[in-house]
Symmetry: C2
Subunit: 504 residues, 2 copies
C-alpha cells in the first residue's frame, strides 16, 4: 500500500481522454467473462472510497477498490487534511469552546447555500461526535491546541481552528460561532496522515485493491441494476463483477475544463486545481450513464487567497471601481467568490505600511505610493474612488466599526501611514485555487437517484462523485469535503454491504 | 388549431407531479401495443416543435406533435414575440442600420457567456438572412420602423429595436452595434402572431396533433435508439411509435422549483415565471432518462425591470452599501443579473424630481426625501455612502462621463433637484421575471449527445430542451430564445426526417 503525499497541481489539467474512453453501460447477459468479482466494488481509493471499504468489510463484505492511479490516497492525500467536526468534541472542549449539534446544524445549513440537503446536514451534525470517535478508531489523533490566526492551512500541529466563516459576518448572526476545523496531529498538511490511517485499516481488514485500473463503463442487468464495472488495466479490458453494489468515489471534475465550462463556468478562473489528475469527472459521468442525475454542478470552492499572514486581513479589498465588496475577514473561499462577482473579476488588496507583509500566497504587488491619491492613479482607478473608500473606511475603523460589511473590530485599524501598497487579486492574475462541489444526487445512504428521484439499484456514490454537504463557494469551510467524504463514504459502504446479492 | 395567447404566470409554480409520473425508458421489444405511429414524433407544440414539424413535413415525413396542454403555442405564444435576426435584414437596412454576419457573430459569441457553442453561433449568424426569409415564408411580417426608446417590450407595432446590450458597455467595445430585435407586425406582444403563423403552416401541410397528451417516458430498442414515447392522455396510457425519431421541444424548467434549486439557484429569486405551466423540465428529464446529458443548467434570464419609461434610465442603481454596480442603461436582464450578485440582493433605483416617472414594472417606492442625505437615512444606508455616490456620479455626469461603468452620455444627467426617490429593486421585493437557459447537449443538427459525447440515436432536442444560443443572463438579448427555438427547431426537424427509419 502506497499513499502519495506530494501536492500535485497542473495549471490546465485537460482530460479529453475521459470522454472518448467512456462507454455506455453493457448488459449483464452479454458479459460472459469476468476478471474479478467482489460483493462491493469501489471506484476510487480516496477518503470516500477508503471509508466505504472499511465499513463494508466490517459487515463481512468482500470489497475490491479499483484505483486509477498507481497508489491510493486520492485528493485527500494531497490536501491540508482538515476534518469538520462539532457538537462538542473533546478537542473543542479542551480548547475552551462549547458547541452543540444544534448550533452546528444551523451553521452548516446556512453555509450550504440555497439548496441544502437538510437531511444530510442533520445526520452529519447529530452524528459528528460518533464520526469523530470513528476517525480516532482508525488511528487519527488530534492535539488539543487551538490555532488562533487567520490562515488557509495551519502551519504547525495544532488540532483546532476556525476553518470557515463561523465567526464572521453574516454567519456569526446565524449560529453561535465555534471552531470546527480539526487537523490530525502532524506538522503542516495532514491529508497524507488521514489516508495512511484509512488505508492501513482497510488493508488490515482485508480490503483488496487493483491499481492502474481505470473504470470506463458499468454493467447493468435487464432491470437496470448495476452489476459490474468495465475497466482498463495496462491497456487491456478488465471486467469486474459486483455482487451487491458499485460505489462511485472517483472525485470531482476540476481537472476537466470542458465539464467546468458546461457546468461551473465560474471555476474556469481556477488556475490551481485542488485535486489529483484523476479528478476529471469520470465517476460522475459513469453515474449519469447508468441513469443517475447530477445536481449542484455549478458550485465549487474558489478562492483568491491573500492571507496568511493574518496582518493582511487589516487591508481592504476593492474592485475596479475602487469600492469595497466583502468583509476582508471572511474565509478566503467567500472573499474569492465575491471577487469573481465583480465586473471583470478585478480586485486589489490595499494596505498601508504598518499592515503590509509579504503574502505567502504569492500575489503580485500591483502598485505602491506614498499617498492613497498616488496609489489610486497608479492603479488607474477612477479619480476620487479609492480615496473616498479609504477615507470612509478609516473614519469608521477608528471607531471600531464597519458599517458596510461588518468586518470584526479586531481587524479594523485605519490605513493611514504611507507608503501604501496594492496587491493584485484579480482573477486572471492571482493564484486561484478551486475544486468542484456538484455531483450525483444521492440519498444519505449513498444510493444514487435518477431524474425520476427513484434509486438506481446497485449504484452508490460518495465524496465528490455525489452532491453532499458543501454546496456553496460563499459558505464553504475547510474540512467539509473530507468530513463529508468520510462520513457519507461510511454510509455508502454500509448500504452496499447490506444490499441483497444479485443472483447468478 | 387553437393558440392560447393570454399571459399566464404563477408565482410559485411547483410541479412535483413531473417527477412522480416520469418513467424510465421501456424496451421496444416489451411494447406490444401502439396507439399511434409517425415518422417523427415531437414532444411539445411551441416555437421549436412547430418549426421542427414544418421542416420535417416538408421533407415528406409523417409528423405527430404531442402537446400536454389543450392548445399549442407553448411559451412563445405568451411572449413578446421578438426574433433575433441580423447580418443586414431588409428591416435593418430600411431603418438605416448596417450589420454583417461577422459583427453579429462577434456579439452573439460574447453575449453567450463563458461556454458558447461557437459552431451553433456561427451557423445561426451566417444563416440569419435565410432564417429571416423562412419566417417571412411562414407569413410573418415586420414593419420597417425602428423603436428607439429603452423598453422591455415595444408597445406599438414597430419592427426593429435594440433588444439587448448591443449598444451598451462593455458590448459596444466588442462588436459594431446594430439593433437585431425584430418584432412581427402587431400592436404589443407578438408571440401569438408567431405561433398562429407557424401552426397555420404546420396544419396546412398536414402535421398531426394530439392535445392533452403528456409524455412521461421514452421507448428504446436494444441498441439504445429511441423508438417511441409513452404518454398519458385523459388518464390513460398512450404509446406512440416513432419510426425515425423523437424531438424534445417541451420547454425549460422555470416552473419547477426543485430543479431550479438543484441546477440554477439564482433563479429561485424569480417570482414571475416567463413561461407556461408545462415548463417544468419534463422534456429535459426525459432526455436524461434516455442517456442524454444536460449542460449550462445554471444559467437563465433573470431581470429586475425598472424601465420603461426610458426616463428612469437616468437614475442610478445602488446596493445596500450605497454603491453603484452596473451601467443603468444595460439591458434589464444584465442589470438584473448584477442585482442578484449584490450582498443580500438589495438594490434601489435613485432618481431626482426631473427624472422620476411612474414605473410600468410596478416596483414600490421605498423612500423619498427632499435631499439625498434624507433619502440615505430613510433607506438606512450607511451615513455618507449614498451622498458620496451621488456626488461622484453628478460631478462626472455634468461632463457626460461615467468613469465607473461607462453609461451612455445620453442618459447621464446630474441628479440634483429634489425631492429624490428610491424605487425598491431588491430581489425579494421587486418583480423578478426569469426563465431557464440550460438543457440537453445537442449537435447543431439537434441530435442529443450523451455524457460520452456520442449521439443518443433517435433522439433530438430544440428550444429550451436543449442548451442553445443564449447561455448567459448577463449577455442575453430578447429574441435569442425564439430565434434559437425556430432556427434549431428547423434543423432538428430536418435531421429527424432524414434519419433512417427503424425496422419493424
Amino acid at each position: 500500500m502506497t499513499v502519495h503525499t506530494a501536492v500535485v497541481s497542473t495549471s490546465h489539467g485537460e482530460h479529453d481522454s475521459t470522454d472518448s474512453l467512456l462507454e455506455r453501460p453493457r448488459r449483464l447477459r452479454d458479459q460472459s467473462r469476468w476478471d474479478a468479482t467482489a460483493d462491493v466494488v469501489i471506484i476510487g481509493g480516496g477518503a470516500a472510497g477508503a471509508s466505504a471499504a472499511i465499513e463494508a468489510r466490517r459487515l463481512g463484505a468482500d470489497v475490491l477498490i479499483l484505483e486509477r492511479a498507481s497508489a491510493c490516497g486520492g485528493s485527500t492525500a494531497l490536501s491540508g487534511g482538515i476534518l469538520y467536526f462539532g457538537g462538542g468534541t473533546e478537542i473543542q472542549t479542551a480548547c475552551g469552546f462549547s458547541d452543540s449539534a444544534d448550533e452546528m446544524y444551523k451553521y452548516v445549513l446556512a453555509a450550504s447555500g440555497p439548496n441544502p440537503d437538510a437531511t444530510k446536514v442533520q445526520l452529519y451534525c447529530e452524528r459528528s461526535l460518533e464520526h469523530f470517535a470513528w476517525c480516532k478508531d482508525q488511528g487519527l489523533r488530534f492535539n488539543p491546541r487551538f490555532y488562533a490566526k487567520k490562515t488557509t492551512e495551519p502551519p504547525g500541529d495544532d488540532g483546532l481552528l476556525y476553518s470557515g466563516n463561523e465567526n464572521v459576518w453574516p454567519f456569526n448572526e446565524v449560529a453561535v460561532p465555534a471552531p470546527r476545523g480539526h487537523k490530525p496531529a502532524t506538522m503542516g498538511s495532514a491529508g497524507g496522515v488521514i489516508m495512511q490511517a484509512l488505508f492501513g485499516q482497510a488493508t488490515k481488514h482485508g480490503v483488496r485493491f487493483r491499481y492502474d485500473t481505470r473504470a470506463i463503463g458499468l454493467v447493468v442487468d435487464d432491470a437496470g441494476r448495476v452489476a459490474g464495472v468495465i475497466a482498463r488495466e495496462s491497456g487491456a479490458e478488465c471486467a469486474v463483477r459486483a455482487r451487491r453494489g458499485v460505489i462511485l468515489c472517483a472525485g470531482g471534475f476540476v481537472m476537466n475544463r470542458k465539464m467546468l465550462a458546461e457546468h461551473a463556468p465560474k471555476l474556469l478562473h481556477v488556475n490551481l486545481q485542488i485535486g489529483n489528475p484523476g479528478d476529471d469527472g469520470a465517476g460522475i459521468l459513469l453515474g449519469l450513464s447508468a441513469g443517475g442525475y447530477a445536481i449542484g454542478m455549478g458550485e465549487g470552492f474558489v478562492s483568491v487567497p491573500f492571507y496568511p499572514p493574518s496582518k493582511l486581513v487589516h487591508g481592504v479589498l476593492v474592485n475596479a471601481q475602487g469600492q469595497r465588496f466583502v468583509n476582508e475577514d471572511a474565509y478566503h473561499g467567500r472573499s474569492g467568490d465575491f471577487i469573481l462577482r465583480q465586473t471583470g473579476g478585478v480586485a486589489y488588496l490595499i494596505v498601508d505600511e504598518p499592515h503590509f507583509a509579504r503574502p505567502i500566497a504569492g500575489m503580485q504587488l500591483k502598485a505602491a505610493g506614498e499617498t492613497i491619491e498616488i496609489l489610486e492613479r497608479e492603479l488607474a482607478l477612477p479619480d476620487g474612488s479609492l480615496t473616498h473608500t479609504l477615507r470612509f473606511y478609516n473614519e469608521h475603523a477608528r471607531l471600531g466599526k464597519d458599517p458596510l460589511f461588518h468586518k470584526a473590530s479586531s481587524y479594523l485599524k485605519p490605513l493611514e501611514q504611507g507608503p501604501f501598497a496594492a496587491l493584485d487579486l484579480s482573477a486572471d492574475r492571482a493564484i486561484v485555487p478551486g475544486f468542484t462541489m456538484g455531483g450525483l444526487d444521492t440519498l444519505p445512504t449513498g444510493e444514487v437517484l435518477g431524474p425520476d428521484r427513484k434509486v438506481v439499484r446497485g449504484l452508490y456514490a460518495a465524496g465528490r462523485n455525489s452532491c453532499g454537504l458543501p454546496r456553496s463557494a460563499a459558505g464553504y469551510s475547510s474540512g467539509m469535503s473530507i468530513g463529508c467524504a468520510t462520513f457519507f463514504g461510511r454510509l455508502a459502504g454500509i448500504s452496499a454491504a447490506r444490499a441483497d446479492a444479485l443472483g447468478a
